[in-house]
Symmetry: C2
Subunit: 172 residues, 2 copies
């Protein structure tokens, strides 16, 4: 199982541990990171075959559900930072998967929408993607999956008010 940590023969016991902290491999951030990686590992090969990255796919999916959106709103929906989105949109536009036009009322805003080609690409990826999602659901259990997502949402809510570092939660 490639599981040969703690070599029992060379005589260096757990040792060190000069700074008292939790075992970080069991910390919440690591658990979330590993779980997400385990999930995304299932999707990446399929996306890759279609020349899409995870983020590009997120953007197309967000766009497929609507007529057109401002970049800022899209950033919120696809959970990407402005600069990342800006670059990716440039590339997706060059590949003719999306279209952009500045809003008439406000020249600062540009409205983004998915193109016909973008829709075709989505249509070719969606079935596999759905199948993978279905398999994950089957393996983990639909009930548990719903529970997990419920808990993840609650976790987000719990931390919603804890913005920066200087927030001392005055009133509390």
């Amino acid at each position: 199982m490639t599981k040969k940590s703690a070599d029992p023969a060379n005589g260096h016991p757990p040792a060190a541990r000069q700074v008292p902290m939790r075992d970080f491999s069991r910390s919440l951030p690591m658990s979330l990171l590993r779980a997400r990686e385990a999930v995304m590992r299932q999707f990446r090969p399929s996306l890759r075959e279609h020349g899409l990255t995870e983020q590009q796919w997120r953007i197309l999916r967000a766009l497929a559900a609507i007529e057109a959106v401002e970049v800022t709103e899209l950033a919120r929906t696809a959970f990407l930072l402005g600069p990342s989105l800006s670059r990716i949109l440039r590339d997706l536009e060059a590949r003719n998967l999306i279209e952009r036009k500045t809003a008439k009322a406000d020249q600062r805003r540009s409205m983004v929408s998915i193109s016909k080609e973008g829709l075709k690409l989505m249509a070719s990826v969606a079935p596999t993607s759905e199948a993978i999602y279905a398999e994950i659901t089957r393996r983990f259990g639909a009930r548990k999956l719903a529970e997990l997502q419920e808990m993840l949402g609650e976790l987000e809510q719990s931390l919603a008010g804890l913005g920066a570092a200087d927030e001392t939660i005055a009133g509390e």
Copy 2:
């Protein structure tokens, strides 16, 4: 509060939706991503004050618990890919936070360990980090936190055997 989405006056209803797919904002990968971001947002300011990134902190934490490790083993522990780790170790070594020496038995391997300075830095960060973790635990609930991590572990396990894309789960 800058929260003026869904302009109710310009008459473009949900519209589009030419490709049938789940609402991706409720997909598992997005739930995991948002939850992790909500958690890490709490830690980043403190780490930043000490000139550490999330990944550098992971590496130091992994090193603090042991005498020395090979790079490959460290990559597995800190959940980083080789190339990322390689770069970060170069930087941490330049900052004298870690030390490296090639193993005597196998010239290919290099053993990494945390330095005295690294331990001092950790000691100055750990209290705040632990306090933040405690606050998160308090807000979300220790019981629920344990449950959540249990589920995340199970999710990982569920997907453990589903490696690449060409795996057709022959027998099944």
